[in-house]
């Protein structure tokens, strides 16, 4: 063999070309995923058969469904022995499943609150919505409380005034140092809520009555209850979880210990235990005669529970950030809170989105546990519907309806989180 010539010189650079067609779309899917060897071909065919079988066995039940009947026995008469769903129960009792025993004449109030909730969420969830609408998001909790529970509008107004009092105190005392100022502002707000708020509400109500008929917590139920507990828990557990996660990573021993103990304690106890504590034990600890609303107690417990999980999820996000990000923020002169707010948290929260939404969905579904302490969540209502003579023995139809509604909420959350992840994707990895 003679000396090989090792020299190669490219005279022209190659232009980019289209990839071959069989590497695209349905052809690729069939060739590479569904029928690429005999085993996967077999599995593909088997799955198709299974799908068809499931559809065939479910469809008569769904398509024969009876929508107008007054009882299960009437349903069965209409069906005359054929398989079929008795969805008449939904038609008969859907308001109960949505609102519990809320007075029917006042249904418009929770419905309006729900619509306003969507408006309030819009500027938070979707940036094209003008940021100015955020003031409405801030006002919404008070407004929703008033709409759902009724009573005087002046109660939430004076509760909000407490924040204003705190803000004014903070502004007046900033010169004394930020720690002192925050403490004083807190004390000011508490003083307002405990001392001034009550009389002020009474006086304002006498001057200008703005009242809706009061509805007690006992009358609320169904999805109204689930959404009230779920949404409050969700919107409180995220900020509290952030604070707790920062506390757990703090270098101050006291802050760190308190956070760790709180998180580990709450995570180590089943939610149902906390709920029983809320419904039964709290009565022993609180001064006699205190009437502490049961829904409020449940909301507090559910929030604490979700907060502990949230803190751990966010801590995971914080731990995933490279040290360089903290150092760069510090080197630019950003103080701890500014660095957290502008550099660390936006990234840590983005990393944690799947975990955060996971917790949200879990929390929302856990609201059905309140059935055990006598609150009327959708499951409890399905039991009480079944307890009537008309609908004795009906299971599937109710559970499918309840499951379907829960699915809509949870699936929307999941889709939104995927949308958010895509929107925040800036790393182009």
């Amino acid at each position: 063999m003679s000396d090989r010539n090792l020299t190669f010189v490219r005279r022209e650079m190659l232009p980019a070309r289209e990839p071959p067609t069989n590497h695209f779309g349905i052809v690729k899917l069939l060739r590479e995923k569904l029928f690429n060897n005999w085993l996967s071909a077999l599995l593909t065919v088997a799955s198709l058969i299974a799908l068809v079988w499931i559809a065939r066995s479910l469809s008569p039940w769904l398509f024969n469904s009876v929508w107008s009947a007054n009882s299960l026995s009437e349903c069965r008469q209409i069906l005359g022995g054929a398989e079929g769903a008795c969805l008449a129960v939904i038609r008969d009792r859907w308001t109960q499943l949505l609102f519990g025993f809320y007075p029917p004449a006042q249904y418009w109030r929770p419905v309006l609150a729900f619509v306003l909730m969507l408006v309030a969420m819009a500027p938070i969830l979707f940036p094209p919505v003008p940021r100015r609408l955020l003031w409405f998001s801030a006002v919404f909790p008070g407004l929703a409380y008033w709409l759902i529970w009724g009573g005087t509008l002046w109660l939430p107004v004076s509760a909000y005034a407490g924040f204003t009092v705190g803000g004014i105190v903070l502004r007046l005392t900033t010169r004394l140092g930020s720690g002192v100022a925050v403490g004083l502002a807190f004390a000011g707000a508490l003083a307002w809520w405990f001392l001034a708020s009550g009389p002020v509400t009474t006086v304002l109500e006498q001057l200008l009555p703005l009242s809706l008929p009061a509805v007690t917590s006992r009358e609320m139920g169904g999805f109204l209850l689930s959404i009230v507990i779920g949404v409050t828990g969700i919107s409180l557990s995220l900020p509290l979880g952030i604070v707790l996660a920062l506390g757990r990573r703090s270098t101050m021993p006291l802050v760190k210990t308190v956070s760790v103990v709180f998180i580990e304690f709450i995570r180590g106890v089943p939610l149902i235990t906390l709920l029983f504590t809320a419904s039964l034990l709290l009565n022993y600890f609180l001064p006699p005669g205190t009437n502490f609303d049961l829904i409020l107690r449940v909301i507090i417990m559910v929030t604490l529970f979700a907060t502990a999980y949230m803190a751990e999820v966010i801590r995971g996000g914080l731990a995933a950030l490279p040290r360089g990000q903290y150092e760069a923020a510090e080197a630019l002169g950003l103080d701890y809170w500014k660095a957290q707010r502008l550099v660390i948290m936006p990234q840590a929260l983005k990393i944690s989105i799947p975990g955060i939404v996971n917790s949200f969905i879990g929390l929302f579904k856990d609201t059905t546990l309140v059935v055990f302490i006598g609150l009327l969540d959708p499951i409890a209502l399905s039991n009480s519907i079944r307890a009537t003579t008309d609908w004795q023995g009906i299971y599937w139809e109710l559970f499918i309806f309840i499951g379907g509604l829960f699915f809509i909420f949870c699936f929307s959350m999941s889709r939104y989180s995927m949308h958010l992840e895509r929107r925040l994707k800036t790393d182009h990895r």
Binding site: Q325, A328, G333, V343
Partner: protein
């Protein structure tokens, strides 16, 4: 290690004044019980360009990170711009906003655009109006020759471009001292030059610079003092000409022979 610096270096504005920018006195630092920095004494005058060299683990990065308190020292004294570094958070933040720092891995904020990276600190620390901060940022991005990338995200830029953004980001705070912690070590050879050119330009404008680097060509061209560190102490300190041609200590000679051989 020949660095071909095509641009002729303009030394007209590279003047070292008598004013002291940084004074480090008998500084010691431990990681746990490990003694990383031992009796460091260093005085940097305004306008000086100091290159710090040494084998890895010699404490050179740790030393410059002590200057803006990314690392805490346990004994001795560091005075930056007349402010002594102690545990007083106010002093630390003041020093940090006067001292710019460029990292080996750039550490740009990946969730912000290039422009937002550059305006973040001026807006939130210096409390400059947004419009003005954007103008300053664009000015410095032009200076590092990437104004057209302003609205991209760091992940879309090459390493060299990212490092130049990092330099621009520090400059937007109008620092009086710049610290460079191995700014070219994570870059491909093709990109090293563009970053060094930016740093040379900065030196020509009279910026006080402390630079940990292995780019000996840069040291020869720009530095007015080279510091060699080993085992947490300053082993040799000299002007670049003597440092490279006539090193005094055995340890320095060995180090130079190793890095200059290939």
């Amino acid at each position: 290690m020949e660095l071909n610096l095509e641009t002729e270096i303009d030394r007209s504005r590279m003047r070292v004044s008598e004013e002291v920018a940084i004074r480090i006195e008998d500084m010691n630092k431990w990681y746990g019980t490990y003694h990383v920095l031992r009796d460091i004494n260093l005085t940097v005058r305004r306008g000086e360009r100091i290159v710090i060299a040494g084998p890895s683990g010699s404490g050179k990065s740790t030393m410059i990170r002590c200057i803006n308190r990314l690392e805490e020292h346990q004994a001795g004294k560091i005075v930056v711009d007349g402010i002594e570094l102690s545990s007083d958070l106010k002093n630390i933040d003041k020093v940090r906003s006067e001292v710019g720092m460029v990292f080996q891995h750039f550490n740009l904020f990946p969730h912000l655009t290039i422009l937002e990276n550059c305006t973040l600190a001026p807006i939130w620390v210096r409390e400059i109006p947004r419009r003005e901060a954007i103008e300053t940022a664009m000015h410095f991005l032009e200076k590092v020759k990437i104004p057209e990338q302003a609205n991209k995200y760091p992940g879309q830029l090459s390493g060299g471009q990212q490092q130049r953004v990092a330099i621009a980001r520090s400059l937007c705070m109008k620092p009086r001292i710049m610290l460079f912690d191995e700014p070219t070590s994570a870059l491909d050879p093709e990109m090293i030059k563009e970053v060094l050119d930016t740093m040379i330009e900065l030196a020509e404008e009279g910026m006080t610079m402390l630079c940990v680097t292995h780019e000996m060509g840069f040291a020869q061209a720009v530095a007015n003092r080279v510091i060699f560190m080993d085992q947490g102490q300053i082993v040799e300190e000299n002007n670049p000409h003597d440092f490279f041609n006539n090193p005094q200590s055995e340890r320095t000679r060995l180090f130079l022979s190793q890095i200059l051989r290939h």
